[in-house]
């Protein structure tokens, strides 16, 4: 077991090293949400109510792009290019490998969250987080659920050329409907109904409680429950549909 953990750590270190060498990955999963934060922050800079929506919204979007989008695309690339098949032929345990890969995405998510929190304090009048417990719990739950969903979604993507389209057809509607850029409560009813089902909405609700309102975890239990249900669904399909090699062969 200690051996498995050490191997997962080695894999994580390798993933970290490779991440910064791949400019497009670094840009899309890292800089883009920050760019959005500063653009929308600038647009709404005179309206604290809007800023109070945008900052947790961007925090949720960051979690989704660093986990769901990054894993859906990476796992597709690794599967279709044969890297997964190669790894499957070595004694590296699958749990260590996938643990290292997921930990890399989680690392990015937490770095992003830290940057957004810091920017909220320094530039957007949000102050320090009101409820650290909420931040840790919803950060962790959001990361785990969206990571699992990302791996599960990679099983649907037929080849690497299709990966950006397949990923964004989920990611882009999700960030709009889930209220990254506006308060969901102001949206039309049918959009609110859809938003109510999506996990990102509830991640953003939780982060909003953590960063802005300071509502207790007990108050947010319903949001947490929705995230956990999605997490279980995601984990089930992530494991069940997992393929170490391209299905074309």
């Amino acid at each position: 077991m200690a051996d498995g953990a050490a191997l997962a750590y080695r894999q994580w270190r390798l993933e970290r090293r490779m991440f910064w060498r791949n400019p497009s990955a670094a840009f899309f999963s890292f800089l883009l949400p920050l760019l959005f934060l500063f653009l929308f922050g600038a647009i709404f800079s005179d309206n604290q109510d809007n800023l109070n929506v945008i900052v947790p919204g961007i925090a949720g979007m960051s979690v989704m792009s660093t986990t769901f989008s990054a894993l859906a695309m990476n796992m597709t690339f690794l599967r279709e290019s044969g890297v997964l098949k190669r790894i499957h032929g070595t004694p590296l345990p699958a749990t260590s490998y996938l643990g290292g890969v997921t930990a890399n995405a989680v690392t990015n998510a937490f770095i992003q969250l830290a940057i957004v929190v810091l920017a909220g304090r320094l530039f957007f009048g949000i102050g320090w987080p009101k409820n650290w417990v909420d931040l840790v719990v919803f950060g962790a739950a959001g990361v785990a659920t969206l990571a699992a969903l990302g791996v599960a979604w990679s099983h649907v993507i037929p080849n690497f050329d299709a990966a950006p389209a397949y990923t964004n057809i989920v990611f882009l509607p999700a960030i709009f409907i889930s209220g990254v850029f506006y308060d969901v409560d102001n949206a039309p009813q049918f959009l609110r109904d859809i938003a109510e089902v999506l996990p990102l909405t509830h991640v953003i609700n939780g982060l909003s409680a953590a960063l802005v309102t300071g509502k207790s975890l007990a108050d947010m239990a319903g949001d947490l429950a929705v995230i956990v249900v999605w997490g279980i669904i995601g984990a089930f399909f992530a494991v069940r549909g997992f393929s170490w090699e391209s299905r074309r062969s």
Binding site: R10, L14, K85, G89, P91
Partner: protein, 296 residues
């Protein structure tokens, strides 16, 4: 494997191996053994079932039937101990793009319980020049060498090479052969697939010719030719026509030919007596099989 003293357990043992993909039977009852330290070749045209067979032995595919033992393990169960003792060069496989061969080798070396020295593996596979270039800048041949290097870095006892030189230019192929021979010198067992006859002839101790999921012939490449006992006699007749005869025993034919030529007072031009090469045997076997399939 506890065998009687003095016998060595085979590195690979295959009995009545079968694999079906739905209705299609890719492998239809293969039997072979590979002894430790031996180079065994699966030779056959594309679609013969070579890769399916090798991928079953590597643990990538489940078999439909039969018995398979690799280093005393059932590869279908994918025991980690077995994976640690086996090196795999797949027919086509990718690599991380943003990593250098040296980093990749160092990383994968750490995955094996006992690994070879990374610098040594780089030297053996001739990657020294490109050891610190990012993998995406490697040429096809260099990537293939990295594949081989990654298969060697865990110091495996048994190495699978699935079409290791397909797409190589002649010089690169000779280099690869040298590398493979150096592995043999280290006492490694090698199972390779190829559709190049010269490659099988140059590297393999024994070859199985495989087509449509069946073994058509098996033996040392030199003896496979000899086993087909017919001689091929070619000569130019008195009208200048090239003639070709096959005979179990060419003595009588040669006697007739030489006597007739002497009687005419002419030289017997373009005379050759050959035994079929591996290539002839291969073409003959694979062709016969196709005809059978047509009539059947």
């Amino acid at each position: 494997m506890s065998g009687p003293v003095g016998t060595t357990a085979p590195a690979i043992l295959v009995r009545d191996l079968r694999k079906a993909y739905g209705e299609h039977e890719a492998v239809r009852g293969l039997d072979f053994e590979v002894a430790p330290g031996e180079v065994f070749g699966l030779l056959g045209p594309n679609g013969a079932g070579k890769t399916t067979t090798v991928e079953i032995l590597e643990g990538y595919r489940a078999r439909t039937g039969g018995i398979v033992s690799v280093l005393g393990h059932d590869p279908g169960r994918r025991p980690r101990d077995l994976r640690a003792r086996v090196g795999i060069v797949l027919q086509s496989t990718g690599m991380y793009r943003h990593i250098t061969p040296r980093e990749a080798l160092q990383h994968f070396a750490g995955v094996y319980p006992r690994s070879r020295d990374v610098e040594e593996v780089i030297a053996i596979t001739g990657l020294a020049e490109k050891a610190d270039a990012q993998a995406r800048t490697l040429s096809g041949g260099q990537q293939r060498r990295l594949d081989l290097a990654l298969a060697l870095v865990g110091d495996p006892e048994l190495i699978f090479l699935d079409e290791p030189t397909t797409g190589f230019d002649p010089a690169a192929r000779r280099n690869a052969w040298e590398v493979i021979r150096s592995l043999v010198a280290l006492g490694k067992t090698i199972l390779l697939t190829t559709h190049y006859l010269d490659e099988a002839q140059a590297l393999c101790d024994r070859v199985a010719i495989i087509k449509d999921g069946r073994i058509l012939a098996e033996g040392p490449p030199g003896e496979l030719g000899a086993a087909a006992t017919r001689y091929r006699v070619a000569w130019r007749d008195e009208h200048g026509q090239l003639q070709l005869r096959e005979a179990e025993d060419p003595t009588a034919l040669l006697h007739q030919l030489t006597s007739a030529a002497l009687a005419r007072g002419e030289p017997l031009r373009d005379l050759s007596v050959t035994r079929p090469s591996l290539e002839d045997v291969y073409l003959e076997l694979t062709a016969e099989e196709s005809e059978e399939a047509l009539h059947g």
